[in-house]
């Protein structure tokens, strides 16, 4: 490993003579690690989507043989007809893959790794080898979770939240090895996030380029920093809970089994003490990256930069004291419900600040609708719906009705798909040139955007209506209930829209692969942005800079009257700019 550490700082930095294995497999280069995360988590995004399609088939056409379902074994779908025990595995694994192996690594694994050193102006992460281990423990976790789909008794089936005692006792769930593999995989994914978070925090605190003060950091870096703090504090709780769950499953402890003196609600408290900060881990980086892209696309400084930073901090802080809002109906002391309700409602305030500031940024701008900008604006439009629908369930009396119904499913998908995934559809093409030296195809990007935007809303908006009718979540066959039978046409409509939404994503994947070889070469700075990463060649070389750049201003100086162009890079020295007092200690 000494040779790797040495090359990063030696004169040979751009004269890369590492072996293939060191360069692309066990790489310590933050950019390669980010790209590894990108490929692996895009694969899991596809897996999660395929699982969702099977669920939608069963919900839209209950009891009918699924096209292509014949290849599934008898234990899952005899004759292509999905079994109830397979359906709840689909529910569980869709949530698990999307949260832990798609959205979270896509936002944090990919962009914290790729962007932080480039945007703060340093050669690599503070601990490159820990960073490599973060990826490989994530990879191992993914393999374990994937393998659990193929074990004889089938995969985990207690929902992605794995409520005990259903998850803890095999005699109650019918699963065995699948549940144990779930626990092992989650312990590994926790390890990956903890290692990553340590690295991101340390790097941002210590390795900023000269002149890159805290309030000159791009909002993407701010949000990734706060996300890392959340991750470092939340993931150990999940890992601890998953270890206790594994013990319950395999060595006969009874932490979560009331029949033997354990506590069923203990799991929920531990899970959501992690799980609610996790919700913000899944949205804050999206907000940060969207802020960068909206400022760029509007050719205007971000509106209210400082309050944007404070809003991120406020959301993260409040995120720690709201976990009980997942448990209003759990039998938890109702007085706690009151306090959790108020803290939850208050989160609407920093969220509103962010939304209005994004609009303020667009106000009187010169809006250029590139594919990243279209997706970023859609993020704002959709996140607002997800944020506002959250108010319904925050109000405890209303939650009594809509808790565990499709209203919640609609809400969480407006935040995670309408929010996080649209942000990724903005971020992926935006930073693609810096990863691969080429632009993704603009025309197909727009086709993908419009079709996704339409079908996405056709899938998830009607779910609000289902929820208002009282349609429960995670039920295999809604036609069992007389009061839900009239809603079957709506379920069918949602399913067909979902198939179209999934088919649309093929455009994205083809565009992604095609552009790797055939995309238009991008040059240094295709978006005319101010960030440090755009001063480097595309793709950015190993070790990034020969000499770290000096920073003279914040990242959002678009349309500044000081220069004729409508952008002003952070590194450009104008007459009258002072040299930063001291170079950072790391250099």
């Amino acid at each position: 490993m000494t040779s790797v550490a040495a090359t990063a700082h030696s004169a040979h930095a751009h004269h890369d003579d590492r072996s293939f294995i060191r360069k692309y497999v066990f790489s310590t280069d933050h950019k390669i690690i980010g790209i590894q995360f990108l490929f692996v988590s895009l694969f899991f995004l596809l897996v999660g989507g395929l699982l969702a399609m099977q669920m939608r088939w069963q919900l839209g056409f209950p009891g009918k043989p699924m096209p292509g379902g014949g290849i599934l074994p008898e234990t899952m779908a005899p004759g292509g007809v999905i079994l109830p025990e397979y359906y709840i595995q689909l529910v569980t694994m869709h949530g698990t893959f999307m949260v832990f192996f798609a959205i979270m690594p896509l936002l944090v694994g990919v962009y914290a790794n790729f962007l932080i050193p480039l945007k703060i102006g340093t050669h690599d992460m503070a601990f490159p080898r820990i960073n490599m281990w973060s990826f490989w423990s994530f990879f191992a976790a993914g393999l374990v979770m994937l393998a659990s789909l193929f074990v004889p008794d089938g995969a985990a089936r207690a929902g992605w939240t794995m409520y005990a005692p259903l998850s803890a006792r095999h005699d109650l769930s019918g699963a065995s090895f699948g549940h144990e593999l779930w626990s092992v995989s989650i312990i590994l994914v926790g390890l990956s996030s903890i290692l990553g978070s340590l690295n991101y925090i340390t790097t941002i605190i210590n390795n900023r380029a000269p002149g890159m003060t805290w309030f000159r950091l791009p909002l993407s870096v701010w949000s990734l920093f706060i996300t890392a703090v959340l991750g470092l504090l939340a993931l150990p709780v999940l890992s601890g809970a998953a270890i206790m769950l594994l013990f319950d499953q395999i060595i006969g402890t009874h932490f979560f089994d009331p029949a033997a003196g354990g506590q069923a609600l203990l799991w929920q408290h531990l899970f959501w003490f992690f799980g609610h900060p996790e919700v913000y881990i899944l949205i804050l980086p999206a907000m940060g990256m969207v802020s960068d892209i909206i400022a760029n696309g509007s050719r205007k400084p971000i509106f209210g930069y400082h309050s944007m930073v404070f809003a991120i901090v406020a959301i993260a802080f409040l995120g720690w004291i709201v976990w009980g809002h997942h448990m209003f109906m759990s039998g938890m002391n109702p007085t706690l419900g009151s306090s959790f309700m108020v803290s939850t409602l208050v989160i609407a305030v920093p969220s509103a600040v962010k939304t209005f500031n994004w609009m303020g940024t667009m106000w009187r701008g010169n809006l250029k609708f590139t594919v990243p900008m279209l997706n970023a604006v859609a993020f704002v439009a959709m996140f607002v719906i997800g944020g506002l629908s959250g108010i319904y369930m925050a109000a405890t009396p209303v939650d009594m009705f809509i808790h565990d119904t499709y209203f919640i499913v609609a809400h969480l998908h407006y935040v995670l798909f309408g929010g996080s995934l649209f942000a990724l559809f903005a971020a992926i093409p935006y930073w693609y040139p810096k990863m691969f030296g080429r632009l993704m195809h603009e025309g197909w990007g727009k086709v993908h955007f419009w079709l996704t935007f339409v079908f996405y809303n056709l899938v998830f908006f009607p779910m609000h209506i289902l929820g208002m009718a009282g349609h429960m979540r995670r039920i295999y066959d809604p036609t069992q209930y007389d009061f839900l039978k009239p809603y079957q046409p709506m379920n069918e409509f949602i399913s067909i829209s979902a198939f179209l939404l999934f088919a649309t994503q093929i455009i994205f994947f083809v565009n992604f692969w095609w552009s790797l070889k055939k995309g238009k070469p991008s040059g240094l700075n295709p978006w005319q942005d101010n960030g440090l990463e755009w001063t480097l060649p595309s793709p950015a070389p190993h070790g990034n800079w020969e000499r770290v750049p000096t920073v003279y201003r914040g990242p959002y100086e678009f349309s500044s009257p000081q220069v004729p162009e409508d952008y002003l890079p952070q590194t450009r020295k104008l007459p009258g700019d002072r040299e930063p007092a001291a170079a950072s200690a790391a250099h």
Partner: protein
């Protein structure tokens, strides 16, 4: 199929639906404001040759306004919601004269224990029926919820009532039905492969009908 909330079948329904509508109005205003604003900006400020964006870093006054309005609205909403919450689920919310019924949830059925003709649970005339919940109309009913195995959730959409049944815990949930009729009770918490069919019928009956049913059911149970 209705595109609205289901029938109001309990005294909670008016309160819950009222709050729902209040939130619908608040969020509706915010929704229209943001979405119309976005669409308007998208058209009005689209890129045109020779134009340069307005260079500004923000406005403290605007930001104070759009911080203060949501803050006041949310705190007010919290206070109003809490008023109803305490009445519905608060520790002392169960009316003292509530008629007691015990429901024991297990994979995948609801075991409903009635107090029998004496109106008291825990006496020798109690009897248990599977998947059928009979309640008198216009009278507070308190359901004592327990679970045999995993977490289930007692959910009657027309009553707007939901309460988890947790193994190892004894949880009271009360409601007062207002409209006679036959409805459905479902399990709202994933409880295993039979979760989707863990369903029961709810019969809301006038006091006379209920008493008549009770007499007959108690006889059948004792014979």
């Amino acid at each position: 199929m209705t595109w609205w909330l289901p029938l109001k079948g309990s005294t909670f329904a008016g309160e819950v639906d009222g709050l729902f509508i209040a939130i619908l109005i608040i969020t509706g205003i915010a929704f229209v404001l943001v979405e119309v604003g976005l669409i308007w900006f998208v058209f009005k400020y689209r890129q045109r040759p020779g134009r340069k964006a307005f260079y500004t870093h923000g406005s403290t006054r605007a930001e104070v306004i759009w911080t203060a309005i949501p803050a006041v609205t949310m705190v007010a909403l919290g206070l109003i919601s809490n008023h109803y919450w305490v009445r519905i689920k608060g520790r002392n919310s169960v009316p003292p004269n509530a008629y007691p019924i015990a429901i024991h949830a297990k994979q995948f059925e609801w075991q409903v224990t009635y107090p029998g003709p004496d109106g008291k649970l825990g006496t020798s005339d109690d009897f248990t029926v599977r998947n059928q919940l009979h309640v008198p109309v216009g009278r507070p009913v308190v359901v004592r919820l327990t679970s045999e195995d995993v977490i289930h959730s007692f959910f009657v959409p027309v009553f707007r009532v939901k309460q988890d049944a947790v193994p190892g815990m004894d949880i009271n949930a009360w409601f007062q039905a207002t409209v006679p009729g036959t409805y459905e009770l479902g399990c709202a918490e994933l409880c295993g492969l039979g979760h989707y069919r863990m369903r029961a019928q709810v019969f809301v009956q006038t006091q006379e009908d209920y008493d008549a049913w009770m007499k007959q059911a108690a006889q059948e149970a004792s014979s």
